[in-house]
Subunit: 195 residues, 2 copies
Amino acid sequence: MKRIAPRSGAALKLAKGEILKIVDPEGGQVSDFLAYNADDVREVISNGRTFDYEETIQLGRGATLWSNRSNPMLTIVEDSVGRHDFLLTPCSKATFRHFYPDKPVHRGCFGNLAEALEPFGIVEDAIPTAFNIFMNVPVDGNTGRLRVDPPTSKAGDHICLRAEMDLIIGITACSAYASNGGSFKPIDYAVTTDV
Amino acid sequence: MKRIAPRSGAALKLAKGEILKIVDPEGGQVSDFLAYNADDVREVISNGRTFDYEETIQLGRGATLWSNRSNPMLTIVEDSVGRHDFLLTPCSKATFRHFYPDKPVHRGCFGNLAEALEPFGIVEDAIPTAFNIFMNVPVDGNTGRLRVDPPTSKAGDHICLRAEMDLIIGITACSAYASNGGSFKPIDYAVTTDV
């Protein structure tokens, strides 16, 4: 098991068939997650294609995460939480200025993902809306209003994603105050071939 | 007023301060809408940034549409419908095969946008989730399930968007069966400086 320190990020290669296990070791933390086709990073995870094909904005066990080219990228094969977000973009310097004008500006998950993915030729503008693991964003079905609540994940909760193609993955331990209830914590991960 | 024929698309330049009026001339039709920074088309409309800053998935009069670089691109200054979608990607050959296996495959809004935007140096992979004007996608706040209902727009209904920077715009008259209740219709538009 590898550890992502609070308010930082990592990138890794995940081969087709391998399983990425992402663990919330202390509970109440969010991990922003991105996936790119390892053979052509212009193919990238897409919330819109995923919402379209899965016919839901709540992705849990059994759901597929789709690419902008309408190919399956990952399948959620285990999920002890069932509450994740795919609506919101990674926190960034701009979101810190917008939402936390009295707090120090941080580069956020966006900056951490950009740095981690740069060696793979992935630039800032190629970072789309992330799959925000353990992030708890209730949506009012009548008004459309959303809010960011603390995650429902407890210590040891996890999600396992199986790669459906060779992938470059970016993941973070989230840097924003609202998404993790104001407590910055680590995220653990491991690559396995079995859940 | 210019007309976009059923199941086709168009692209245009919209200068900062100009207003694009998009009209549903017969009612019940959808127009997939994209915006790019005219000076650097790597800056593009972003559903995730918009949901983040507007704190809702239902965008209507007064709402701002934001870019992937956290800049305001457009403001909705008039809206006689108030029911649009920003969750789903443009229909494409792949979505026709998926949702309408018994119907002829059509290149859809995705193919129409790609052709219209190609002269501006915008490639297929640079097409994100579109702002789908008049598209009616109710979301169940408890389960996250979504469905595509016929638009609530009546003949003559319209939306007006003011450019907050110089833009390249892509718009369509939608090609999919579900989004417009199975009746393919035109979309009208005009560039003005006043609502």
